[in-house]
Amino acid sequence: MSVEKRSVTRFELLMDAGFGAQKAGDILLQAFVGMGKYVYVEPMIPAEISPPARTRPALSGVIIRLADFDVTNIGNDTDFILASHEMVLDTRLDDGEYNSSCRILLDMGDREANPDSYEMVLKRCTREGLSVIPFDVDQPSQALVKELGGKGQNLYYLGMLSYIYNMDEEIVKGEIQKTFGKKLKEDIFAKNMALFHNGYQLAKEKVFFTFQVESTPRQGEKILIDGNTALSMGIIDAGIKLFAGYPITPASSIMHTLAKMFPSYGGMVHQAEDEIAAIGTVIGSYYGGVPSVTCTSGPGLSLKQEFIGYAQVAEIPVILIDAQRSGPSTGMPTKTEQSDLPAVIFGSHGDYTKVVISVANVIDCFYAPHMARYLAEKLRLPVFIMSDFQTANSYKVITKPQVVEMDNVEDIPDFILDRFHMNRLPKDIEMVHTSQAVPGTEGGMRRVTGLNTDAKGQVNYFSGTNQRSHQVRNEKVHHVRRALVKPEMFGPDSGDLLVVGWGSARGAIEEAMSLCKKQGIKAAGMHLRVVYPLPLILKDIFARYKKIVTVEVAYGDALKPSPLAMLLRCETLFDVQSMIAEATGRPIRPKIIVNRVKETLSCQSR
């Protein structure tokens, strides 16, 4: 029996979709958090609801990173896997995210029916140096699962995991009670509890190792929240009163959360007939003076582009959340990517002015709506909040952020502007249209149009007037350029290499840079929360490093820079290269950043 003490460890529960792997993960997570441990959770979800069991597309699961310190990302490699059968294991091993000493508990229940497949996968594990500990669910538990119509296995696995991670059985039982106590009938609940207990006992008898992560009692109120829920709460706190959206993965859960809660905070949720209608309704509401927001993902973003361009010309504020998923086209709806950047920066036709902010974690998600509303209403331009599948769905425990209860955007607190590395905008900003009166205002009657107009709002096709409209719109964006201060940096102020990322890449960059520091590597990291426009100071910062590279979950190669690299190149004229530009659908890993940093530096010194 070995107790392995770890500062940080990562494990996975892999099952077929529809059998409750994420639910088991949630319960475990609550128990961990209750014990004062830090966790970061990434669910793995197929794009389909219930793909056929025991097929590769059915893989569903949860990755949990457990630490005695605050973790900012899902980490590097998995130390331990519990798999419900060989097919889910084989599928997940293809991602190559396991440690060389990774141990695997494999349920052998399906072996009799699939002996060849099991043999093949077991051979693969041996070949890759992975130690597999086979086990069978005990007979009484199998009978219970049968009685529950094939469900309940997740509770059995939860029992096993609870033992392996040195959890107090009673604490976990308490969490199960919280989750299912009110939802399940008494007898069904009892059977689930029995399965949990049996799993715990099985692990006690059969598994000869446990992992121990120290707990550090924490001060202050803590919340457990995922990115999309934090965005939803931020929308409410920012004083937005209408949400209009169309169902799309991975943005939909924002609409689900608000549909339940918004009316109690004076807000309406409108499920539109399509993506275009959703933004049209936001524009109508904002023209009427009522703050509103829409959210979408890649395909919906493409559909909304004409209205986004219209809003900037009509000078109607628009807030659009883009929860990015893997593209192009329908792509991989439940995988993460950061490749919508060109579409938001260059998307709509003609000269196109906008502001793009991004979120790196759940706290950013909570404050992004305040920031977006401030920018959208001050500038009367479209403002994007860029999230992605990973940030939208990952859970984290955080100290409860300060609630702002914003009504007037001028009251936005400094700490939110600071978070996005921006100074306050000037009080008065010139608009194309002198009057911005809201309907209902006596004597302020005015028309807005997508046609070019003069300052009075009258349609006008004369050269000078059109040039003025462009200048005024672009000057609004220049105000943001000038207000942006030094972005968040990790590591030395100057050196051999600067690694730049945006959005969800922050956690991995931060952790990688602390690893670099420990290893004496002279590299620094930079994270951009506002991605467009870029701060004017950027060129000065770049000049202090020998080489500038980006890390992105987006495609790029030697002949085609990845989106952020392309943007930085054209805005700074520095020879920015894509160091990691992979559209694998998997989050960036700190370890890979460190390895690439070493490679890049050794190439440079050669």
Partner: protein
């Protein structure tokens, strides 16, 4: 941004010239002049406050209409005025809302929104300017172009039977379907009035002349080719023109009869159908808020405490 609107001051009565902006940039003889004049006459007759009135439109000749009303206005993008109007209907029920769309705008590029606008039955007057072709883009076939009519895109003569906007609206469950014409001013204004008083999405089909591209359509000098609908609960036939044509009795609560006359191929002006009991989506969403227990934002994150 604030939506606090100044309290309404005692007003001078609204007169027609208060509603004018620039001279409309439409061709001489365009039916759109008649339509906006009809709406302006109604605004004056009803004394709607220009500051509390919003015209929303799409793209095309009809799309320009809001620019020619000294009210608030949104000249939006092609096919989507209904979506913008809904945003206003949801959040600003205090405003008088008129939506202007052409046949291409409403039935082609914006067909999806028409379907859902009708189904949502939110409060607005929806004016369908139907000149039976695309005019601003210079004479192309539209969803309502009559078969064999020559256009720039179908020079062999338009290929298909046109869509019938009235049966489409009735089939979608419209709570209000009326029809009128740009050259019958009194009837047009009466129609606006009945439509404005309707508690929901008032679908008003307007036959509109395009003398530039299709002068042969809609012979406004004769009246024998159309009829008026008449009923106590309907829109009164035009006093000036009715004696020169036929008047047909039709009960606007009779949906089956409405379908029948709308499908005949003969043109009728009047109220086809009205149902004031159909629920309104804008009202439903506002009621949800009104009925919900209001909670303080200060505790918004407490739901997630551990």
């Amino acid at each position: 941004m604030s939506i606090q609107v100044e309290p309404t001051q005692p007003q001078q009565p609204v007169v027609l010239k208060d509603l004018n902006t620039e001279n409309p940039r439409w061709c001489v003889g365009c039916g759109d002049f008649g339509i906006i004049m009809g709406l302006k006459r109604f605004i004056v007759e009803r004394q709607l406050q220009p500051a509390a009135t919003v015209n929303v439109s799409g793209i095309g000749c009809s799309g320009r209409a809001p620019n020619y009303f000294n009210t608030y206005g949104v000249h939006a993008i092609h096919g989507r005025p209904i979506t913008v109007a809904l945003g206003l209907a949801l959040t600003r029920p205090d405003l008088n809302l008129f939506v202007h769309a052409g046949d291409g705008d409403a039935l082609s590029i914006g067909g999806n929104h028409l379907m859902h606008g009708i189904n949502k039955n939110f409060k607005c007057v929806f004016l369908l300017y139907d000149n039976e072709l695309y005019a601003l883009t210079k004479n192309q076939t539209s969803p309502t172009t009559r078969k064999d009519h020559v256009t720039n895109t179908q020079p062999q003569g338009s290929f298909l039977q046109p869509i019938n906007p009235l049966t489409v609206a009735l089939g979608l469950g419209a709570s209000f379907v009326a029809s009128t014409a740009d050259w019958i001013p009194d009837h047009l204004t009466s129609t606006m009035k009945t439509a404005f008083d309707h508690p929901g999405f008032a679908f008003v089909h307007i036959s509109q002349r395009c003398p530039h591209f299709d002068p042969a359509n809609f012979d406004h000098k004769s009246s024998a080719w159309f009829s008026f609908l008449k009923h106590d609960k309907g829109i009164a036939p035009d006093r000036r023109i009715a004696p020169k044509t036929t008047v047909v009795e039709h009960d606007p609560s009779n949906l089956a009869a409405a379908f029948k006359i709308a499908s005949e191929g003969h043109r009728y002006f009047g109220l086809f159908y009205q149902n004031t009991a159909k629920p309104r989506y804008d009202q439903i969403l506002r009621d949800l808020v009104a009925r919900a227990e209001q909670k303080p934002r200060s505790k918004i994150l407490d739901h997630y405490l551990i």
